[in-house]
């Protein structure tokens, strides 16, 4: 028995994973013990989420094995994982909004024939017990629709309990939660640990990790770089391990002068999304917009660009007060917006690279309504050359290009509009490190040529390296405006985390 207790619940050996030839995880070995809360830390794209999803059967590893209690298991689907006692709790929980809470709890359990009666009474009773066990008050007979994210997470956790999971993986569960909800979650996590279950906790927030976890594993660029007890590592150690490489110092181009105000926002509000947002961006200036996921940064950008207009406040572009209610109008004012989710809001997947690049300048390629092929081709070719977009042909569908080159094409689209204000929302997400550096150079050049740039990023090193100033948002408000000289990871994080959360960290 002693041996069994010492034996790791999960031991992963040599796990590697590639997507479309890009290796995002390289030979990761990791043991998870019984009754521990284990944090996975790393920058965005470091591989921690991919690793967690492999454990939960969402992805299959390209190479490597996972052993459960010493025997190698084939986790080929989320259902298989669940049967093996592994549950993944997504940041945005999976739910069936039209079914009741109790049904959502039991869905997926394989019991009896398809025509078997639904044991409503027993199901409700069991669901109530689970909720009581977790100490949360949710009416299990109501529909999932309208439940808060926190409550939906609780339902997911209850699911894990109901199927008696020994490993519960929580992928950034705290991002959308209020401090009080985080506290409840942590209490439950500790109880589950004390029952002997294993919890994998993925987070960016060091203070949360300190408050909750026993051991940490740090990922960097697809490698596991360290695993240690949390007490043995200082914050500085962890950050050093996460960043690893000294980020190449971004050199500002000589002669860049910060000019007059290009974009001025005053008291911009949109109930439920953000409120009282005021800031300005000057010509030649790169202003960062940091904060946690869900802090409302993207919503502000969407409002500025007219995708989802704000309901109150004022916007001034190049000294002119404007009301932006539609993207086409924003473009006319000299705004450009590279959206966060390229596949959803950026590219036309099946259309040619050429068409994708020229999509925002109908007036240039078709002055009289008819498209001038030669003009279009020249414009696209110039862009490809300038931004070093690698492709086989201008006529090939953009979906065939790599993520970095797709993103360059989107940037090219906006440069053709010659914008005076450029809003970049996570421009380097999902892009190879090599191409990232190219992007940093380009962003610098754009600022040097006198454009005002608003850079939204969750990657702190990126903000620190590129920005003249960093604004930080938290829960829909701007909580800090930090000059380049004062900006540090700590100062940004401190402003990004909702204030009352200090209690949790203690």
């Amino acid at each position: 028995m002693v041996e069994a207790a010492d034996m790791p619940v999960i031991s992963a050996r040599g796990i590697s994973k590639s997507f479309a030839g890009v290796e995002v995880l390289r030979d990761v070995d990791l043991d998870l013990g019984r009754g521990e809360i284990h944090a996975l830390l790393g920058e965005n794209g470091a591989g921690k989420s991919t690793f967690a999803k492999i454990l939960a059967g969402v992805y299959r590893p390209t190479r490597g094995t996972v052993a459960i209690n010493g025997s190698v298991a084939d986790i080929n689907s989320p259902i298989a994982a669940q049967k093996l006692g592994i549950t993944l709790i997504h940041q945005e929980p999976i739910s069936f909004p039209d079914l009741t809470v109790a049904e959502n709890l039991v869905l997926g359990r394989n019991q009896g024939s398809p025509l078997a009666r639904v044991p409503w009474a027993a199901m409700t009773r069991e669901a109530r017990q689970l909720m009581d066990l977790l100490g949360v008050k949710i009416d299990v007979t109501r529909a999932m629709r309208g439940l808060s994210i926190a409550d939906q997470q609780m339902v997911e956790i209850a699911r894990a309990l109901a199927s008696d999971s020994r490993l519960i993986v929580m992928d950034e569960p705290t991002a959308p939660l209020t401090p009080k909800e985080v506290e409840t979650l942590f209490g439950i996590a500790r109880r589950l640990r004390d029952e002997g279950r294993t919890i994998v906790f993925i987070s960016h927030r060091l203070e949360e990790v300190r408050a909750l976890c026993d051991r940490v594993t740090i990922f960097r660029d697809g490698n596991r770089v360290a695993t240690d007890s949390i007490g043995n590592l200082s914050d500085a150690d962890i950050i050093r391990l996460m960043i690893g490489r000294p980020l190449r110092e971004y050199m500002k181009k000589h002669g860049t002068t910060i000019g007059e105000v290009a974009l001025k926002v005053e008291h911009l509000s949109k109930p439920g999304f953000f409120s009282d947002i005021s800031f300005e961006v000057r010509k030649g200036e790169i202003v960062g917009l940091g904060g946690l996921v869900g802090a409302g940064r993207t919503d502000v950008a969407r409002a500025l660009f007219g995708v989802a207009p704000a309901s109150g406040g004022s916007i001034t572009v190049n000294g002119k007060a404007v009301v932006v209610s539609d993207p086409s109008q924003a473009i006319g004012l000299g705004l450009a917006f590279v959206p966060e989710d390229r596949a959803v809001a950026g590219i036309f997947r099946t259309l040619s690279v050429e068409q994708n690049i020229t999509a925002a300048v109908p007036g240039k390629i078709a002055p009289g309504g008819l498209i001038q092929r030669l003009v279009e081709k020249t414009l696209a070719q110039d862009s490809v050359r300038k931004l070093r977009i690698r492709l086989a042909s201008l006529r090939q569908p953009i979906g065939e290009l790599s993520g970095g080159n797709q993103q360059k094409s989107i940037l090219a689209r906006w440069l053709l509009t010659d914008p005076s204000v450029l809003i970049l929302d996570e421009p380097t997400r999902g892009i190879d490190i090599g191409v990232k550096a190219e992007f940093y150079d380009m962003i610098g050049e754009l600022a040097a040529s006198g454009r005002a740039i608003l850079l939204i990023s969750s990657e702190l090193p990126e903000l620190l390296a590129l920005c003249d100033r960093v604004l930080v948002m938290s829960e829909g408000r701007i909580t800090a405006d930090i000059a380049r000289a004062e900006a540090t990871q700590e100062s940004i994080m401190q402003a990004a985390v909702p204030r009352t959360r200090d209690a949790v960290a203690a």
Partner: protein
């Protein structure tokens, strides 16, 4: 971050190789339609030498011209990612309104204008539901299809309304040796092919159909374009309805009954992608001729109308399956 890394990913990962040009040209649904059309003409020719007579080919197409005229604009609607099942009912209602008006003593030109105006209104109603209220066009136009046909039934009852002698026979008017409806169809096809293939409006239709969210982010006024498409469909359907009235000489509420199937079929058979973003006017043009020739051949071979009914249904399903298959092969 070294240049080396970039080089390596550059050569192996940055893009798939481009396909040979001939492949992209040849493996298209339109090519299939064209081959079928050739086969149809050959089969028809074996059946009766009439089928190789250009005059017969042109005059027999007048029966199909009205649906085909609408199918061309419907193609654009489908490429834009929407659908309109109501134009056949729209044809009936516009024609009924027109016939009713002229019977009530309204001068014919004015009655025609009122008919077309009502068609535009019907298009606008579809657009209101789909664009302003953001309901799925497929179910909205099922509703309006029932409504328009029902209104036509209220106006015309079970009787047919006659139109004056001199207004009858648009299909008998020959211009340059081509029956007028057929000429209208061909001219419309040329105009729309240029618009769809060569103008920025056409370009943006494809972009909206491929990814409407991205299109909106790129400053494309997708709602305005869709509104326009629904209006054009409504107006063109009304014109087609009045043309049908002229060809038949009288109007009943069941004018063009079941036409929505034929129109959708023409677009699908011509390789328009049901989920939007792909398709062409030339495809629909070929498909319209193909249908016309097939129907004639089947009539000549004295197949029952019922068999033809079946064939249309089967053809619709097979054509979407084939089109989907071809597109899924050529898109990664």
């Amino acid at each position: 971050m070294s240049a080396m890394d970039t080089e390596v990913t550059g050569t192996t990962q940055d893009s798939a190789p481009a396909r040979p040009r001939w492949q992209t040209l040849l493996i298209r649904p339109e090519t299939m339609t064209f081959i079928l059309l050739v086969l149809g003409v050959i089969a028809g020719g074996l059946l009766s030498p009439f089928f190789l007579d250009i005059n017969y080919i042109l005059s027999s197409f007048t029966l199909y011209a009205e649906f085909s005229i609408v199918a061309l604009v419907l193609t654009m609607v489908i490429i834009a990612g929407e659908i309109d099942l109501s134009p056949a009912a729209n044809m009936a209602l516009s024609a009924c309104i027109f016939a009713w008006m002229q019977q009530a003593g309204v001068p014919i030109p004015l009655a025609v204008l009122i008919g077309i105006g009502s068609g535009l209104l019907m298009g606008a109603l579809n657009a209101l539901f789909v664009i302003a209220l953001q309901l799925p066009s497929i179910i909205v136009t099922i509703g309006t299809l029932t409504l328009y046909r029902g209104l036509a039934q209220i106006i015309a009852g079970d009787k047919s309304i006659r139109v004056p002698e001199w207004f009858i026979g648009i299909d008998k008017i020959m211009v340059l040796g081509i029956p007028l409806p057929v000429l209208i169809f061909i001219v419309e096809a040329i105009v729309l092919a240029i618009v769809l293939g060569g103008s920025i409006f056409g370009r943006q239709i494809y972009q909206i159909g491929t990814n409407e969210i991205a299109a909106r982010h790129a400053g494309i006024r997708s709602r305005r374009i869709k509104l326009l498409l629904f209006l054009i469909t409504g107006g063109v359907a009304a014109i087609a309805g009045i043309m049908t009235a002229s060809r038949l000489g009288s109007v009943r509420y069941d004018l063009g009954l079941g036409g929505e199937l034929q129109m959708v079929l023409m677009a699908m058979l011509g390789g328009t992608y049901i989920f939007g973003g792909r398709g062409s006017i030339i495809g629909t043009l070929l498909a319209a001729w193909l249908l016309s020739i097939m129907t004639n051949a089947m009539n000549t071979a004295s197949w029952l109308p019922a068999t033809q009914f079946c064939l249309l249904g089967v053809l619709l399903i097979v054509s979407i399956i084939v089109t989907n298959f071809i597109y899924s092969r050529t898109q990664r």
